[in-house]
């Protein structure tokens, strides 16, 4: 599904190398988690894959299926099936959540040569999906993320994911700023979307989220590289001992 090879990335404006040869392969239907200390390059990886400006790829490749991700615009990556759930979802005053969602869904459909969703059909689908995430009609009408609590913003991300039906979902610290109940609700939303044809890359600081979203593989990232990979037990090891042991082990 997602294949990253020897990915090297620096900041566009300064000589600071952030990713120093990342190799990662996520199979169809799998859930991979990336953990690592602050500044290890986790969020950068998610931004570079989804096409945010400000980074320069100096070496390496990233493919989603047959699609060369690094060569195309962010909206083309989205249409190809990539989705990034933001750590800090952006507030957009004056643009209704529904308008935004429908514009996005139909833009992707159009890009893939599919028929656009009618207003009535869209409304039916979005209401059903919103209900399972406990998003009420008021939240759907309000401007995108404006006045939403931290939990509401993250649930809104998952709703977008549910509507856009991507193949590859990257969750960038989706657990940050969430209380226990909100994390459970968001995790249930994610788990409901797990399927054979959909993969997840879950970036987190804490093992706690992985209790709810059970990963197949856990990677530890440090200093711009993946330094260790293993099963879910690796996350527990980090939770108990911190990163020091693993860092010492690989150096």
């Amino acid at each position: 599904m997602l294949k990253i090879e020897n990915l090297h990335v620096k900041l566009e404006d300064e000589e600071k190398q952030i990713l120093k040869g990342v190799n990662l392969e996520v199979g169809a239907g799998q859930v991979h988690a990336i953990m690592g200390p602050n500044g290890s390059g986790k969020s950068t990886l998610s931004y570079v894959l989804s096409g945010r400006e400000g980074y320069e790829v100096t070496d390496g490749e990233a493919h989603l299926g047959d699609v060369d991700l690094l060569d195309i615009e962010p909206e083309e990556r989205a249409a190809a099936g990539l989705f990034l759930a933001f750590q800090y979802p952006v507030e957009i005053p004056g643009v209704g959540n529904m308008t935004f969602l429908r514009t996005a869904v139909n833009a992707q459909r159009k890009a893939r040569g599919e028929e656009e969703m009618s207003a009535a059909e869209f409304l039916k689908v979005v209401r059903a999906k919103a209900r399972t995430l406990k998003i009420d009609s008021d939240m759907l009408k309000r401007p995108v993320n404006v006045g939403f609590s931290g939990g509401e913003k993250k649930r809104n991300e998952i709703l977008q994911m549910a509507m856009l039906e991507p193949k590859m979902c990257i969750l960038d610290e989706t657990d940050s700023g969430l209380d226990v109940d909100a994390m459970k609700l968001v995790s249930e939303g994610v788990n409901a979307l797990r399927s054979e044809g959909r993969s997840f890359l879950v970036i987190t600081h804490y093992q706690r989220l992985l209790d709810h979203i059970k990963p197949d593989v856990v990677h530890i990232m440090a200093n711009g590289r993946i330094i260790k990979s293993g099963g879910p037990e690796l996350a527990l090891e980090v939770e108990q001992n911190g990163y020091a042991d693993i860092l010492a082990e690989v150096s």
């Binding site: 909206e75 004056g94 514009t103 996005a104």
Partner: protein, 426 residues
Amino acid sequence: MSAVAETMNVTDERLAGLTLPAGGWSDAARKDALSRVQMMGLPSRRDEYWKFTRPDTLTQAFAVPAALFHNDEAALFDDVERLKIVFVDGVFDADASDDLSLEGVNIERLASADTDIHWARDIYGVLETNGQKPVERPLAALNTAFATDGVLIHVTGAASKPINMIYLHNSETSDVMLHNVIKLDAGASLTVLETGPAAARLNMVTEVEVADTAALHHIRAQGRDHECRAATHIFARLGTESVFKSFTLTANGVMTRNECVLELTGDDAKATVGGACVGDGDFHHDDTVFITHDAENCESRQVFKKVLRNGATGVFQGKILVKAGAQKTDGYQISQSLLLDGDSQFLAKPELEIYADDVICSHGSTSGAIDETALFYLQSRGISKPVATDLLTLSFLAEAVDEIEDETLREQINQRMASWLERRRG
């Protein structure tokens, strides 16, 4: 040549080409206005009040020709139930207009000089004269003297539908002065819609008397003709617990100066002046607002948003004057520009002058580019960059458009702006 001599020269040249219309009941006001124009002289670029906007094409003897703008879009507010009053290049078009009768409203035309319209005599040129202090507005006095037509609206109750003045521009050289007077009796209410550019060069004055507990909602869309020029003035006086809300949408126009002069004279009055403008290329747009608080517990809001690109210029001069005794005043002023490229500019001069000690007044002015993070957020959901940019542009304008209270009218403005942006994308 000295500055004074130059000003008088321009004024003389302008006046030489004009004749006072036979105004009947308005004759005295017209003659008085003419002598005031002669005293003040028309504005020159040396005037502080015209520091950011060159007045020469607005004051010179002849209008610069403006090519006609052809478009196939439906007229704005076409599907709104309203009373239409149509002017073509400043000339009343009886065939295209509705019958000028509406329950609770008395509608006359300024050009009907033979009827003595007593109520209008107390307002015509009177509010304009009041508005000449402390800052002179000679183009408004010029209008009072020479306006050839306009609509006089006296509202005695709650008007059942909006009145829409439709100003069409069909002559490349039309040079037009229109003067409207709107009087709302106590408790009366009316929505006035104004659409269209009116002429190659327009000088427009609207005087509004809002009596106690009356409410006027005013929504204006100045048309899309690229080469038109306009200087407009609104003078409004607000009574106790009255409401005045005015919103102006401007898209295109090589030179537009919109002045709004409000006086809150009764306690608990509320006034809002809002504007959204979208300018491209050879575009100069100036909003100049002067709000005087002269009563207690009044609220005023100024909300102006300008989207500028390809070298367009936006200007905002906004002043709140709180007189001694105008306690519990709540004054809010925001002017913001979204600069879509490095060639465009926004010039702002916010001013507060306060002589009461128990007031809240705030003002803010910003210039910024499209928020890159928001743009990326939209793109990451599959929305292309041009569409995302348009969505963020509408988002930026929303705070001003939201000042329109009526949801249907607000949506019409929003949809119109969205379709303009979409057309521009091609």
